[in-house]
């Protein structure tokens, strides 16, 4: 942290008044950005400058700022969540940029994620996929069996957890040339497919989730693997393969 310095940068940012308006890239100059700042703190600094200049600040989604809520997005210099791998935009720091850089910032670009305003997009399609089958149908009772009644091999539990670590940010969709949501859906299907609790409804789950995914207008998977590369949580392509197996199994029943 002691090695932090200040840099001056140029920004090209997508501005769009609302869902219906036509947007365009606008240019801004921002000086004295500390390299210890996060990318979103840099945007805070820009907005402070815009407000002081009596201009409209840039709208962008963000909340936890520690890489776990999945609310932040942004296409930065042509990459989902920017140049650092395994990192959400909120965990990207300005030390990854140099004095004098021009940084391009765009919203997620995908048919299934329409722009709401500026850099904010609507990802509610993900919620609807989850509502179609991303759960175990167990009511609240506190009278289910004891948590240790069914031993689960550590390897399965770990794999399930790694799939469940998906933060639902949508980088996979934004980065896919087909706008496919297979990594997101595959991760959810896998989390449950790997656990005994999820097996009971496995057939219906994968059929319902895939149906909803198609209805939302996401594209198909052509195995380019870009989603895995850009996923900030390192969700593996294996999950797509597992979903395909689950889907095939379910379709043949």
């Amino acid at each position: 942290m002691s090695s932090a310095k200040n840099i001056n940068i140029n920004l090209k940012i997508w501005r769009q008044k609302n869902a219906k308006a036509k947007g365009s890239m606008e240019t801004y100059k921002l000086d004295n950005v500390s390299t210890a700042s996060s990318f979103l703190e840099m945007l805070d600094q820009l907005n402070e400058q815009l407000i002081n200049d009596k201009k409209e600040p840039v709208a962008f989604d963000h909340d936890c700022r520690e890489g776990i809520c999945g609310m932040c997005s942004l296409y930065i210099n042509g990459r989902a969540h920017g140049p650092d791998t395994g990192t959400t935009t909120c965990q990207l720091h300005m030390r990854k940029f140099n004095d004098g850089d021009t940084i391009f910032i765009e919203p997620w670009r995908s048919k299934a994620f329409p722009v709401v305003k500026d850099l904010v997009v609507d990802r509610s399609a993900f919620d609807r996929i989850q509502q179609a089958g991303g759960f175990v149908s167990v009511n609240t009772s506190g009278r289910t069996m004891d948590a240790n009644a069914i031993p689960i091999p550590k390897e399965d539990a770990d794999k399930s957890f790694m799939a469940a670590a998906c933060i639902g940010c949508g980088a996979c969709v934004a980065t896919c040339k087909n706008g496919s949501a297979m990594l997101f859906v595959g991760a959810k299907v896998s989390q449950y497919a790997l656990l005994p609790q999820g097996k009971v409804e496995a057939t219906q789950r994968v059929l319902n989730m895939v149906r909803q995914m198609d209805e939302e207008g996401f594209g198909n998977c052509t195995n380019t693997g870009a989603c895995e590369v850009e996923c900030p949580k390192g969700i593996s392509l294996e999950n797509i393969a597992r979903m395909n197996r689950e889907y095939l199994k379910a379709s043949l029943k």
């Binding site: 942290m1 002691s2 090695s3 700042s37 996060s38 703190e41 840099m42 805070d44 907005n47 402070e48 409209e56 600040p57 709208a59 963000h62 909340d63 936890c64 700022r65 520690e66 890489g67 776990i68 809520c69 999945g70 609310m71 395994g86 965990q91 990207l92 720091h93 709401v116 305003k117 609507d122 990802r123 509610s124 993900f126 919620d127 989850q130 509502q131 759960f135 175990v136 149908s137 167990v138 009511n139 609240t140 506190g142 289910t144 069996m145 948590a147 240790n148 031993p151 091999p153 550590k154 539990a157 770990d158 399930s160 957890f161 670590a165 639902g168 989390q191 449950y192 609790q197 999820g198």
Partner: protein, 669 residues
């Protein structure tokens, strides 16, 4: 106002069971005639909305984020406590109850805390049944670890992402109910007022954050589960959007606000980097299972480290002061959070801080001992009884990565330093608020029909919360308490019928919200909302923070009152009301934070004792430990709103009675 906590009679271990058996019920055929609003979709809100939906009520759930899955419960790292005693190390419901009361420095209600401990086991059962992938041992059973303030291993976890996994579990239960049409979800909506009709909570005014439209929603009961108010300090580990607005709006409508000065400052967070810092990041308490906290023994070493002339790894063992192990040998690095935070502050104030920022505030969290220990164990487990130093280090680092990998990565992203090689730098930061809306045993506020759950209420943690207990409380309230107590209330509402949103009360509430919004947008001030929020934060941190005194608190009260006037006169809110307008959202939230900040200082001023997270410099013993005054301050302070001038709020007291636990000085030595 007379406060009735409605704590049932009987032995502590029987109260909840007996009480539940006699609560009124609503028959399944009547439930679809009843509407319930749940505001907030974190662990408490999502689990309440899902459970009430499953029962058959019409539920409307609201969150300000773009999806209910984003609520800040998701950021909880270390774990969730439950008295399962799977590790056979002496745990029990009583022990969890006792640890929580003691950890809270004897300022929580016995009956509520015992109920929490009773249902803790059910939470784990429920979550496993939902498909929450907790960490497991090689035998396939659930793994546990230790957290601060306990001498047993009762914390269940999923790497450093336990909150995420539990919230996604509750979100999946909620999603199921949304899919079935029993819960209607309102994403990107913010509650801006409560509507009362004939004294009862009957609905809310919510703003659609995308279109800016104000909406009226009616219900037979309203559940507020909107989290804590740590962002009153501007810098905290809370999410940027976390706010007190829903809680403050109901306070203004008659709900008392309890123990506002009880704030948890978490010892292990990444230190501040500079003036543009927007939030602070927690490094989970679970790291204190493996990390040892120290500063240089000699001030000149600390100075050399700050100047970059000396590396911490170069400092010899005898030149390090493991101050928690030295002061608290029985609990060592695993003392409760308030104790650890104050000890770090004490060392930094004495000139031993190691961070090269404006305040030199920072201490080390060092994993090198654990790397050696676990590395040797791992080598043995592989049959290698004579491992080389390099092998031990390698295996030790692997072990750490498996346990805490995501935390170490996060630390490296933020600080650009590798914590496997050099100790982490950490410092306390605002993390959690024990205070909140006053509720009775039913989790009902002083407004009939308005319930408050999770961090938003005050009920279970006294003056300090133990680690891994927030997740437990959120889910206990939502899954296992509200479904019973809300139904009990609603049993008298089955003949009420649909509540109209055309009544004068709804019209007035909507107009009030509209006027406030218009006032901000037409204010034409010169300074941004953040400008005021940061100034409020500084006052709070310096004078209502880790250490407080009479003079500072009196100054804070005046300074905040003056800041309030300036805010309303000079704040600049760009844009319009009929669009997505994040600056407007912030302005509405900061207005409430300013009021609350003043009340927190007032509450801290009246509490002439030190307890838990509330440390008054005037009340400490010769070793710097907190001095409680049980004779005069064994009560919950519950504040009553009296209008615009916060200094006019009236203090009500709920006496705390300890029938089953003997009060003692809190000792972790």
């Amino acid at each position: 106002m007379k406060l009735d906590s409605k704590i049932p009679e009987g032995h502590i271990s029987k109260k909840w069971t007996d009480y539940k058996d006699h609560l009124k019920l609503v028959a399944p055929n009547n439930r679809p005639k009843i509407d319930i609003i749940v505001v907030g979709t974190g662990l408490a809100g999502a689990s309440a909305a899902a459970s009430l939906g499953e029962m058959g009520y019409n539920v409307k759930a609201f969150c300000y984020q773009d999806s209910p899955r984003r609520a800040h419960s998701i950021a909880a790292q270390g774990g969730i406590n439950a008295a399962k005693n799977y590790q056979n190390d002496g745990d029990s419901i009583y022990r969890l109850f006792y640890d929580t009361i003691k950890g809270g420095d004897y300022r929580a209600r016995e009956a509520n805390v015992h109920r929490l401990a009773e249902v803790s086991g059910n939470i784990i059962d429920q979550c496993v049944a939902q498909g929450v992938p907790f960490a497991r041992e090689y035998g396939g059973l659930l793994d546990n670890r230790s957290f601060g303030g306990t001498q047993v291993q009762r914390t269940f976890y999923a790497a450093g992402q336990t909150g995420q996994q539990l919230l996604l579990g509750a979100y999946s239960a909620l999603s199921r109910q949304i899919g079935l049409g029993r819960v209607k979800m309102f994403n990107r909506h913010e509650m801006l007022d409560l509507v009362k009709v004939d004294g009862k909570a009957r609905g809310i005014i919510a703003r659609n954050l995308v279109t800016g439209e104000l909406e009226r929603h009616s219900a037979h009961a309203v559940v507020i589960a909107t989290g804590g108010y740590g962002n009153v300090y501007f810098l905290s580990t809370n999410a940027m959007g976390s706010n007190v607005t829903a809680g403050w709006k109901i306070h203004k409508k008659g709900a008392l606000f309890a123990n506002p000065c009880f704030v948890q400052i978490h010892p292990t967070c990444i230190p501040v980097h500079g003036v543009n810092q927007s939030k602070l990041t927690l490094m989970s308490e679970s790291l204190r299972n493996s990390g040892r906290i120290w500063v240089p023994k000699k001030k000149e070493d600390a100075e050399a480290i700050r100047e970059g002339k000396l590396k911490p790894t170069q400092l010899a063992e005898e030149d390090r002061d493991y101050f928690l192990e030295r002061r608290y040998p029985a609990f060592g690095n695993l003392v409760p959070r308030d104790v650890a935070s104050r000890a770090a502050k004490e060392r930094c104030d004495a000139g031993h801080g190691i961070e090269a920022n404006d305040t030199n505030e920072g201490v080390y969290l060092d994993f090198s001992t654990e790397i050696q220990n676990k590395g040797r164990q791992a080598a043995y487990a592989k049959g290698n009884h004579n491992p080389s130093a390099a092998e031990v280090t390698k295996l030790g680092k692997q072990w750490l990565e498996e346990k805490y990998g995501n935390l170490f990565t996060m630390y490296q992203k933020i600080t650009d330093e590798n914590p496997y090689e050099t100790p982490m730098k950490i410092y306390p930061a605002v993390h959690y608020t024990m205070g909140g809306v006053w509720v009775d045993y039913n989790l009902q506020s002083t407004i009939p029909g308005c319930f408050v759950a999770g961090e938003a209420n005050f009920s279970d943690h006294g003056a300090n919360r133990l680690g891994a207990s927030a997740l437990m409380q959120g889910l206990a309230d939502g899954y296992f308490v509200l479904p019973y107590t809300v139904s009990n209330y609603l049993a008298d509402e089955i003949r009420t019928g649909k509540i109209s949103t055309e009544s004068q009360e709804f019209i007035d509430a909507e107009n009030n919200v509209k006027n406030t919004i218009d006032k901000f947008l037409n204010n034409n001030g010169t300074k941004s909302v953040d400008h005021f929020h940061k100034r409020l934060g500084l006052i709070m941190w310096n004078k209502v923070g880790m250490a407080r005194n009479e003079q500072g608190l009196k100054q804070a009260i005046e300074e905040i009152a003056a800041l309030k006037e300036e805010f309303y006169k000079d704040v600049r809110v760009p844009g319009s009301s009929d669009e997505l307008n994040p600056e407007l959202e912030k302005a509405l939230r900061v207005a409430d934070f300013i009021d609350l900040g003043q009340l927190m200082a007032m509450d801290a001023l009246q509490r002439n004792e030190s307890c838990g997270g509330h440390f008054r410099e005037e009340y400490q013993d010769s070793e710097g430990e907190t001095l409680r005054d049980d004779e005069n301050f064994s009560f919950v302070s519950a504040w009553e709103y009296m209008g615009y001038d916060i200094s006019k709020e009236i203090l009500n007291k709920e006496e705390l009675k300890y029938e089953f636990i003997k009060i003692a000085a809190r000792n972790y030595k």
